[in-house]
Amino acid sequence: MSTTVRQTTPSFRSVAPAGPVRPPFRDNPRLILAGITLLLAALIAMVVLADRSASLSPEFLSEAVLYALTAADLTMLVALVFVLARNVIKLIVERRRGLPFARFRAKLVAAMLALTLIPAVLVLLVGSELLRNSADRWFSAPVDEVLTSANQIASDYYFDRQVAVSDDAARIAGALASVDLMADDVGPVRDLITPEVIAGRVEMVQVYRVAGGPGAARPEVVPIVDLAAPSLPQTHSPASADRLAARALADGTGARAVEPLAGGGDLVRAATAIRRSTDGPIVGIVVASTHLTGELAARSRRITDAYEAYSQLRVLKRPLQGVYLSFFLMVTLLILVSATWMGVYIAKRIMRPVQLLADGARAIEAGRLDYRIEPETADEFGSLVEAFNSMAGGLAAGQRKLERSQADLRRKNVEVEGRRRYIETILERIATGVVSIGSDGRVSTVNRSAARLLGLAPAVIGLPAEEVFGRADLQPLADVLRGLTARGDQPPREVALERDGREWHLAVTATNLQSDADRGGGQVMVFDDVTPLIRAQRVATWRHVARRLAHEIRNPLTPIQLCAERLRRHFSGAPTATRALTDECTGTIVEEVESLKALVDEFSQFARMPAPRTVPVDLNALLNDALRLYDGLFNEIRLDRAFAALLPPVRVDPEQIRRVVINLVDNAVEVLRGSAGVDASRHDHPGRVVIATEHDAAEGVARFTVADNGPGISAADRDKLFMPYYSTKQRGSGLGLAIVRRIVIEHGGNIEVGKNGERGTRFTVELPCRS
């Protein structure tokens, strides 16, 4: 099975090069089939060869076949060593690299090898031993003796016939020694040899004369008589007799030959030189031949062939054994190589898809959900790969769905965050204080206005509400929360808080928050600072009262004054005592009427104060201008300036603000002058009034303070200070600070009074400004 990786994202892995890719051998079923077929054919050929080895030439077996088998054995041995060494080296390398499945392949190969090694080697050893024993039995002594004896008989018979023919040839040569072979007439020669042929002692006689005469430099034999029996087959070759005669002439003695005939049988020839005397020169050659019939020759040849085959087998015993042993060895090596290769192949077949699946799992783990493995087979591994791809596809689809959900969630979060920031900004910017308390009873939200109005630090967030609102000045709010817890939502109500000697009026609305689980979702408390509103209402009330008073009082004052003056004139002529009494009474009436008129004028002025005509003004300059009036007026009191630099301009009516400043400074000076604790002569505690300015960018106000180190004002009197017709001074209408407050309020500002540290009073005026 082969498996390849397919990818859907080009950036994930480089795309395979275009064009057909030849699959490796292990993945090519046709090549594998061809290889197996070739191997089977080789084995069949070897079996056939082994079966026919008896009919093959031993030399062919011992040379060609042994060569081929030895080469095959060496090749397989090298292949086995190569496969094993490669496997071992790969195992070492892969284990060093920490690659997975290295041990698995080694174990599989070792198992396959172990399974086949023992039986294969056993077959080799047993087969070799059997072969060796069989070969030894081939050459047993009786067979050897029989074959040797038979061959000896056959060859002796041939030898005897050769000797007999030689004897005949010698006898004929001796008879021809007296015949002139050089004569043209060969009749004597023929007459001499004809009886030999007729008598059957020889079947053919050929006589040659030596051409060129005896002793010639290059003698040659020339046939002169050729006489053969009619029974002799005509297939013999005359040239054979000529060569034999030439050889006999060359040797000077005799020569013998055995010539196989085409029709069967052998022709035994013997050549003998013809000499006229024993030591004389050769004058001729006689060749005598006798025919060994076909049956006899064939039997003799078969005997000799059997003997030679037997002898050749004995000679080639070791090479032949080598052939069979090589065959066994080759089969054994073939089994081992096949087992090893099969182990590697099976391991690859198993490991490859598993490795790819492991790689795929790692890729999936790394988030590459587009990783796919392309199955090419329909077996179990193919199903596994399909399941993996299906899983990866499901994961990819799930991830896409999740990403879409995450995107939606992010978008909604952004929207919610925007909305939250929007609400938070509103909460931070609005003048309404908002405090929320979580279901756990802890403060979760305190906006800026709430912190300012209630004097809470940002650190209170997270603290228990009971602890935060357990403060003495916040007890009314604690009561609101308790009522909310006990009785549910409360209608808006107004509470008054007293903090730092000042009374705050808040319109409070408290609501329980409901959660989806219908559990306690906490509370939210919203409150508005209605102190300026109440003050304004009070001022308006007082203005109305002042207007009514001025109107109601002013009208009778003139008749009263006129009546008193009329009485004084009427009693101007009365006795002295009466006149004095009258003058005293009328004087008192007129004086009090004047006083009432002045009072009515002030009330009238308070009621009819004009609207401020604002212009951009440098507050520091305005204060300097106002304070310049006091230069050199007091020796025992110091007026100090602590102005902030870069104060933005404020839009005010300069005359009205100057009046505010003068009023506040006058009050401070008057308090310091009437204070027993302040002594100008004492350096350790001189009278001191500090006029300071500052810019509160966060609140968008310019603030100036007038602080003295006098005896201060009690907490109970502080809020009443700004009420009309209330004064701590023995003389005064009680409208000064009421007018001051009215001016400040009509400028959109605020005025507060408080303690100046350890001693004295501080008036703080806030005026809106644009930085």
């Binding site: 031993p58 030399e59 011992s62 040379e63 042994l66 060569y67 030895t70 080469a71 060496l74 061959n151 056959a154 060859s155 041939y158 030898f159 050769q162 013998r256 030959a257 055995v258 003799s300 040849r301 005997i303 000799t304 003997y307 030679e308 002898s311 050749q312 004995r314 000679v315 080639l316 070791r318 090479p319 054994q321 080598g322 042993l325 090589s326």
Partner: protein, 185 residues
């Protein structure tokens, strides 16, 4: 330990190499006597293989197997610090087949596969001589030889059929011999 293993491997490798080199060299002992002779612009080669007819060879001949002695004759020039150069080479072969029925030996000689002579003899001594003795064979031309240069003739002999268990593809000659000479025209 590692060094020991490496050195053990080296020793084993050297032993195997020595086996491959020395054993064939010992087998191919100097059993061929070679005599060169220059005449008529030819190098005449005479050589004789001694102790060639072992019992094994005789048994092979008497069994009727065609038995061949082949000789590879090389005319070489020695080159210092490099492989020797083969100037010319030829292969001679002497074969014999014994007919146990007629008790005759069929002899033949070839040069580079070309039959040069054949005969039938009865005497074993003639067979021995024909198989092992070669006299004044004009095998090489002297034209390419440089005057006053050192050359040598090397004759390597092999016998067939072999009587071994296996055939070693890289087996060297059964016997060999050489003779150096200075070529003086």
């Amino acid at each position: 330990m590692k060094q020991f293993v490496i050195s053990g491997c080296r020793v084993a490798g050297a032993s195997v190499c020595a086996l491959f080199v020395l054993v064939p060299a010992l087998i191919a002992a100097d059993l061929v006597r070679v005599r060169p002779l220059y005449r008529d612009d030819r190098i005449l080669v005479s050589f004789e293989l001694t102790d060639a007819f072992s019992e094994e060879v005789l048994a092979s001949i008497r069994s009727g197997l065609p038995t061949t002695f082949s000789y590879e004759v090389e005319l070489r020039r020695a080159i210092r610090f490099w492989f020797d150069r083969t100037v010319a080479a030829t292969t001679l072969a002497a074969s014999v087949r014994y007919d146990n029925l007629t008790r005759r030996y069929h002899l033949s000689r070839t040069q580079d596969g070309r039959v040069e002579a054949s005969e039938v003899v009865e005497e074993e001594q003639r067979v021995r001589d024909a198989m092992t003795m070669f006299e004044r064979l004009p095998l090489f031309s002297a034209t390419p030889l440089e005057a006053n240069s050192e050359y040598y003739l090397r004759v390597s002999a092999r016998t067939r059929p072999r009587g071994n268990w296996f055939v070693w593809p890289w087996s060297r000659a059964t016997a060999s011999g050489s003779a150096a000479f200075t070529f003086i025209p």
